[in-house]
């Protein structure tokens, strides 16, 4: 069930009338249009069906809209959701709303992005920092010490973006101390990634690799390479997320490594945890959904696992 914010009040009312049979689980996602988030949302929907709960799922008007996320959070609390699963667009910004819900006895499960300044029942996510360290270490094996690289960052005002950048930079710099890291700042926008990578690659001929904080950036970087007439493999690409289009680009020889989050698992286990908490069962405070290192060698296994043909 996917609906706009305008529809949520009506939806929650309808949901409320059938709640005697089924628990209502509110699910506030970060995006309904981003390829990665669509996988997470699919996992959430499947878990809800298995658990037999009524999932009221709401996506923001545009990615990163905190105020509408707060509003829908309050609506869900007021209308008596049994538990709320939320993917905060802003770790600190969502905290007051989370505190209110927890205070009212409604369990809150944070998915993908943690909450800063409030307790949650459970935090279900990849350990971004740990995975980014693996990404950095693998990326280091693809270049020689001294070769400069580009790193496309995510939003540096969010914990996800900070952890991915810091993890990557720390482990890459440890392994390749003489390689310069040129950063392209973005707010999870592939157009920004494309333009920034194009600007840098155009002004220097020595960049050996473009590593990315998420696969939208990977695809933007690939477009930048194509715009400048590079062929697959001229400049190596390293991705993060394991999104379908980035894996396809790996098969064509553009992408050399990708640390895939278990996106489907994130949504699936998040809603499982929320349903269990709604029934009053104990849930683990931190559920790590793990990752998978996709390389040209392992891409077949990965595709079979997540169901990409």
């Amino acid at each position: 069930m996917n609906m706009t914010f305008a529809g949520v009040a009506v939806a929650a009312l309808i949901a409320g009338s059938t709640a005697s049979a089924q628990d209502v689980i509110g699910y506030i996602t970060k995006s309904a249009t981003n390829a990665g988030w669509m996988m997470i949302n699919q996992g959430a929907a499947d878990a809800a069906e298995e658990e037999g709960v009524n999932l009221v799922s709401v996506g923001p008007a545009f990615q990163g809209d905190l105020s509408s996320q707060l509003e829908v959070f309050e609506n869900l609390v007021a209308q008596g959701a049994a538990a709320i699963a939320v993917a905060p667009v802003d770790s600190a910004g969502i905290a007051p709303a989370v505190n209110d819900a927890m205070g009212a006895g409604i369990p809150v499960v944070a998915i993908d992005t943690g909450v800063a300044g409030a307790e949650v029942t459970s935090f279900v996510a990849t350990d971004n920092y740990a995975v980014a360290k693996v990404q950095g270490a693998v990326a280091a094996t693809l270049v020689e010490d001294g070769q400069p690289i580009i790193y496309v960052t995510g939003n540096q005002a969010q914990s996800t973006g900070q952890e991915r950048r810091n993890g990557f930079v720390e482990s890459f710099s440890a392994a390749r101390p003489n390689s310069e890291i040129l950063e392209v700042p973005t707010e999870w926008n592939s157009q920004e990634a494309q333009e920034g990578v194009e600007a840098i690659l155009n002004s220097r001929q020595d960049v050996a690799m473009v590593a990315n904080a998420w696969d939208g950036g990977t695809m933007g970087a690939k477009a930048a390479l194509e715009n400048l007439g590079f062929s697959a493999g001229d400049v190596k690409l390293v991705g993060f997320d394991g999104a379908g289009d980035a894996i396809a680009a790996m098969d064509e020889g553009w992408v050399h490594a990708n640390t895939a989050q278990m996106l489907y698992q994130m949504g699936y286990q998040g809603i499982k945890a929320a349903s269990a908490a709604a029934r009053g069962e104990d849930v683990s405070a931190r559920i790590d959904t793990g990752f998978f290192l996709v390389t040209p060698m392992t891409s077949g296994t990965y595709k079979a696992m997540v169901g990409i043909e």
């Binding site: 249009t33 592939s190 001929q205």
Partner: protein, 519 residues
């Protein structure tokens, strides 16, 4: 006889300079153009070794400006009619997604998919324009609704999924390079005689020049040339300005204002669709979330370019410059590897400067111009101040935070992780204290300079300005001795701005005189 003619020649050179300046500042695009030049020079200085003023980098900026530039071109006409179109970003996203969708999944040949996209643009424009022109609904509301409707329609109709990579025909709107065929033939050794030498020349200069010579840029420039010709030479162009400056008057003069308003909105949405095609020519795939917030970027570009939001006044070349300024900020700050958060602050400041220049330009008041130059000098002094000042402040703040955390701990509060991180070791404390005291002299010296310059902005005589310019120059020596050579360019520019400010009144008087004589 010869003396008189020589005197005449010299004055006429000076006159010509003054007249040239007057002519330049009368153009609506001069504010944005000046901001581009100033920003370009500062980025060039900040990116030593990563050339900024390089043909291939400038062409990259043009290539990346093309899609949003064409959207902003259509927006300019709407704003000149005193309207607004907030839906362009959504229209761009929806047409991009649908064009890619029918080309990828319905088996439409590329040209048919392109016609579909442009047709959708025209249809949406007709819808928006009819509501505004014939039903009297406010443009702001109609297009605000459109912002939501067309984004949602785009997501719904394509399932918000990305398409596969689009057919090569779409490259003709973007990354296609007219020289690549010649270069490939040269590398294959298929050329001979004259064409072989041309091919060789292209291949030698490929990286430095020809690589970024792409269709995006050519279409972008061509679009603005054609549109300028249309606007300045046709009745439609004149009516657009007339509707914007005085709509009832235009109607009484017999202009069919609803029809031309409708046409303008249709053109604006058509431009959004054309911008979508240009974007697809450089993008990895087609997707319905393209073009988010483009309406704001387009409006910003139009306003930076000197077009009035109240209609009736504005120019397409101003918008052209405005778009380039916005893209140049991104490109330059990325090349300069400025910290992300600083990029946000600096972007906003540059926009303020560009619009500020435009307002001063319009005021035609010598005192405002003098104040502006004084303010520039003050900013330069401030930038010089921040070199030692930032070190001083950072050390002082770290010590203060350490003090606050220590007090809390002594009071028995258990510290949070963030507070613990602010506690310092004795070594760090001595280091910070010495950093603070080492930078104190230079900070105080430059602080006095900033305050003096700020005072000059408010009230001055020519003598004081001259004197202060001299102080800027004199300051170079002690500041360099203290080890802050990096501040020298700021001090030189500050002195130049102050000296320039003393000539402003004379220059305006001269310009007025010449203007009267010319009449």
């Amino acid at each position: 006889m010869t003396d008189i003619s020589r005197a005449k020649a010299t004055t006429s050179l000076q006159d010509r300079i003054v007249l040239g300046l007057v002519k330049f500042f009368k153009a609506e695009w001069s504010g944005a153009f000046l901001a581009i030049v100033i920003l370009g020079i500062s980025i060039e200085l900040a990116t030593s070794g990563r050339p900024f003023f390089h043909p291939s980098n400038l062409m990259t900026i043009l290539n990346n400006s093309a899609a949003i530039g064409i959207v902003a071109g259509g927006m300019t006409l709407v704003i000149i009619t005193a309207g607004i179109d907030l839906s362009v970003g959504s229209v761009m996203g929806m047409t991009a997604a649908l064009t890619g969708y029918v080309a990828s999944f319905w088996g439409f040949p590329p040209y048919l998919a392109i016609m579909t996209g442009l047709g959708i643009g025209l249809a949406i424009g007709a819808f928006n324009g009819s509501l505004v022109a014939y039903f009297g609904m406010p443009a702001f509301i109609v297009t605000l609704a459109g912002l939501s409707i067309w984004r949602g329609t785009g997501h719904l109709s394509t399932g918000a999924q990305a398409t596969p990579k689009l057919p090569e025909t779409f490259d003709m709107f973007g990354r296609y390079n007219p020289f690549s065929g010649l270069r490939d033939a040269y590398k294959e050794g298929e050329l001979s005689g004259f064409w072989e030498s041309v091919g060789g020349f292209i291949d030698d200069n490929w990286i430095n020049f020809f690589r970024t010579f792409q269709m995006s840029m050519l279409i972008f420039i061509g679009f603005f040339i054609v549109l300028t010709i249309i606007i300045s030479n046709t009745r439609y162009g004149r009516w657009v300005y007339a509707i914007g400056s005085n709509e009832p008057g235009a109607r009484q003069a017999g202009i069919n204002t609803p029809r031309y308003t409708l046409l303008t909105y249709m053109f604006c949405s058509f431009s959004a669709a054309l911008g979508a095609l240009l974007f697809l020519g450089r993008a990895p795939y087609a997707k319905s979330d393209y073009g988010q917030m483009w309406e704001l970027d387009a409006i910003a570009a139009v306003v930076i370019g000197g077009t009035s939001l109240f209609g009736g006044r504005g120019s397409l070349w101003g918008t052209f410059m405005g778009v380039i300024l916005l893209k140049l900020i991104n490109n330059g700050l990325t090349l300069a590897q400025l910290d992300t958060f600083w990029q946000m602050v600096v972007t906003g400041l540059i926009i303020l400067v560009a619009v500020g220049l435009d307002i001063v330009r319009q005021s035609k008041n010598p005192e405002s111009v003098r104040k502006l130059l004084g303010a520039i000098a003050a900013v330069m002094a401030f930038l010089a101040l921040m070199t030692p000042g930032a070190i001083f402040l950072r050390a002082k703040i770290a010590l203060l935070e350490h003090g606050a955390a220590t007090t809390l701990r002594e009071a028995g509060t258990s510290l949070a992780a963030g507070q613990n991180a602010r506690l310092l070791s004795p070594d760090e404390i001595t280091q910070l204290q010495s950093a603070a005291s080492a930078n104190l002299t230079a900070t105080l010296l430059l602080l006095v300079l900033v305050l003096a310059t700020a005072f000059v902005v408010l009230k001055t005589s020519r003598l004081i300005s001259f004197g202060l310019a001299a102080v800027f120059i004199v300051m170079i020596l002690p500041v360099s001795l203290l080890g802050y050579e990096i501040t020298v360019p700021f001090l030189v520019l500050g002195a130049a701005a102050l000296l320039g400010s003393t000539y402003v009144h004379a220059m305006f008087a001269k310009a007025r005189m010449l203007d009267v004589n010319a009449r």
